[in-house]
Symmetry: C2
């Protein structure tokens, strides 16, 4: 009935030793049987289904518990996996998901990113420099205005041109009209420049609309899909990544996802490493967007480094993916970012690109030139 | 192009007055155009799309900003509505969504709960007492064992008998086998007792499986659907609630949702009132499960009272729904809970029900008797 294979979650637990250990024991029950432990008879459920403390150690003034669960408890579904990982205990204080260690029997249930770092580089024909990524904005522009921006960005040498994550199906620039014109604009620019830029529409949408938006994107010639998995459910991203009829790279946007990491430094939620790294990969993202250190958001340099580590730590056949720091990024920061991230990074430049000067093509070329020169 | 109708979000902001006001101004831009404000020309985008501070006040040593947004910015989708409400700013410190004020032009885009309090009472033929709710567990039991528990609970007079939220499609009790047997067991009990108990399977599942699970549930004779919207995306719940071919009450489970409220007392995330009350209603839940005060979770009595307020505050045609406190609830707590919640509540009894004694039918009857006597 059960393989004996188990996956391990490392939890960071606050409190003194006794309290932290009590939390670890509680997690074993809460995340599985949620049943009075004293009523469980010896046997399969008590011995296999209930979580098991594999180790309990102190480091950096916190306690860490490695807790293992039967792979079968996940039903090999991302939703139920997340539920075992952090379902009910998301409502309990002082528990942080630090990292995951997944055995083949569970990893094999997931395809992971279709492209990953190597695949995305091949698609974009960029071998040895950071990739350049911009967003079409502001919301309120018409489809034609957005397409004109997309054209200019592609002419300017940007690799990936995405919808701003707030562009959905608003009356100002209805989805199908917008994506058709933007994809055509980027294709036109590619023909002129010989580049392989891609247009990436936002397919974050109502539950019943997501697959249709993705289908329309593919039909229009989009080169990737943007989705905010905290808005749609993480498994919607996996579903799109797995779809062979799409076969498009997937870009994960962090909107609505912040609450999982904002209390991480206080020992609650999910660590940056696990959320933006391991879980995003498991859910099929080829690149994961998150706020860069030193921008208008609050991530520290160490948190950003931990995200990079999570995007590339060995996870069986699950490919490494691109970290994509963005948010208030300016051209002046590129040298410092290159130092921290190296070349395997997707630089997402938002509003800062428009600030540089009135000529968007020139701004893009300047962005590209800085990256070409420095990397 | 735009109706002029706006919805209002009240944010609680930490920091001194100047800092809090700067946050409010930042939210107006971040949640809409995400574009350098100084580059926006006078006109439609600057004047209508960018958020607008409608009021800024101090109360209880915090600052509150009422910020309005054009209803069109939501594209009338729950996903994009959540994005405007709290997308990017979920990654910024010191911002809490306190409450929502939605105009008819936005409310009309949502059906809300199909049943609500009155509808669920009619369905269960219970007019004037709290409803009784239990969960089938532990994970690891077979479909037959779970069905036997379901039968006993229904015979014992429980109104709503749900899957534990961790029951998915595990090999121990595969979904279709489980729901077929459990639904049949409850139907058999109803025939014997004359009650109108319902069986509520968990349809939280992979993105592409949710609608099929719900369809199978309906076909098997289930009386409602359980879903954990933080695992599936909140809009998956709305989709199920809206489906006329199902026409089943929907029960919202808080698994994986905790991170939104766990830092609320520190001024980050979404307030209990807004999340478990207003947003759950907008997303179609007929009853919202959350951890009761004084249990093994961390919600305070005031937070629970605020949830009740959010489940019944007037919201146009969106019906009031049942608060369903659970989590470590024991029979001894029923009198105190009646005092706090009154009769319009669904009491969710989990593991505590099994602790009472070895005879589950007797335990259920005792639970029912206490509630009947006291209410």
């Amino acid at each position: 009935m059960i393989s004996g294979e188990r996956f391990i979650v490392t939890y960071r637990l606050t409190g003194e030793e006794q309290e932290a250990y009590a939390k670890a024991r509680d997690i074993c029950v809460e995340q599985t049987v949620e049943y009075p432990a004293e009523l469980l008879q010896p046997g399969f459920i008590r011995d296999e289904i209930v979580g098991r403390i594999e180790s309990f150690t102190k480091a950096d003034s916190a306690y860490y518990a490695d807790i293992s669960y039967a792979v079968e408890s996940t039903a090999y579904e991302l939703t139920q996996f997340l539920n075992v990982l952090f379902g009910n205990i998301s409502i309990k204080p002082g528990i942080l998901v630090e990292k995951l260690d997944l055995p083949p029997g569970l990893l094999n249930a997931f395809k992971g990113p279709r492209f990953g770092r190597d695949g995305l580089r091949r698609l974009l024909t960029v071998t040895d420099r950071p990739l350049l990524f911009v967003a079409l904005k502001p919301m309120g522009l018409t489809a034609d205005q957005l397409a004109e921006l997309a054209y200019q960005c592609a002419v300017g040498g940007i690799d990936i041109i995405k919808d701003d994550h707030g562009l959905s199906n608003q009356v100002f620039a209805p989805y199908e009209e917008r994506i058709t014109r933007c994809a055509a604009a980027v294709a036109k620019a590619n023909k002129e420049t010989g580049h392989s830029s891609i247009y990436v529409p936002n397919v974050t949408a109502a539950f019943g609309e997501i697959t249709e938006r993705a289908r329309l994107a593919k039909a229009a010639g989009a080169g990737g899909l943007l989705i905010s998995p905290a808005l749609t459910g993480l498994d919607a991203m996996r579903y799109l990544a797995d779809d062979d009829s799409l076969a498009l790279p997937v870009f994960s946007h962090p909107a609505f996802q912040g609450s999982y990491v904002m209390a991480a430094s206080q020992g609650m939620g999910i660590a940056h490493y696990a959320l933006y790294g391991q879980l995003s990969r498991l859910a099929g993202a080829d690149a994961v967007i998150y706020p860069n250190f030193g921008g208008r958001f609050s991530f520290s340099r160490d948190e950003c480094r931990s995200i990079v580590a999570g995007t590339q730590v060995p996870m069986g056949h699950i490919k490494p993916i691109f970290p994509s720091p963005g948010g208030g990024m300016t051209l002046e920061k590129v040298p410092e970012m290159l130092e921290v991230y190296g070349k395997d990074v997707v630089f997402l430049m938002g509003g800062g690109l428009f600030k540089q000067g009135p000529d968007l093509v020139a701004n893009c070329r300047y962005f590209r030139q800085i990256v070409d020169t420095l990397s």
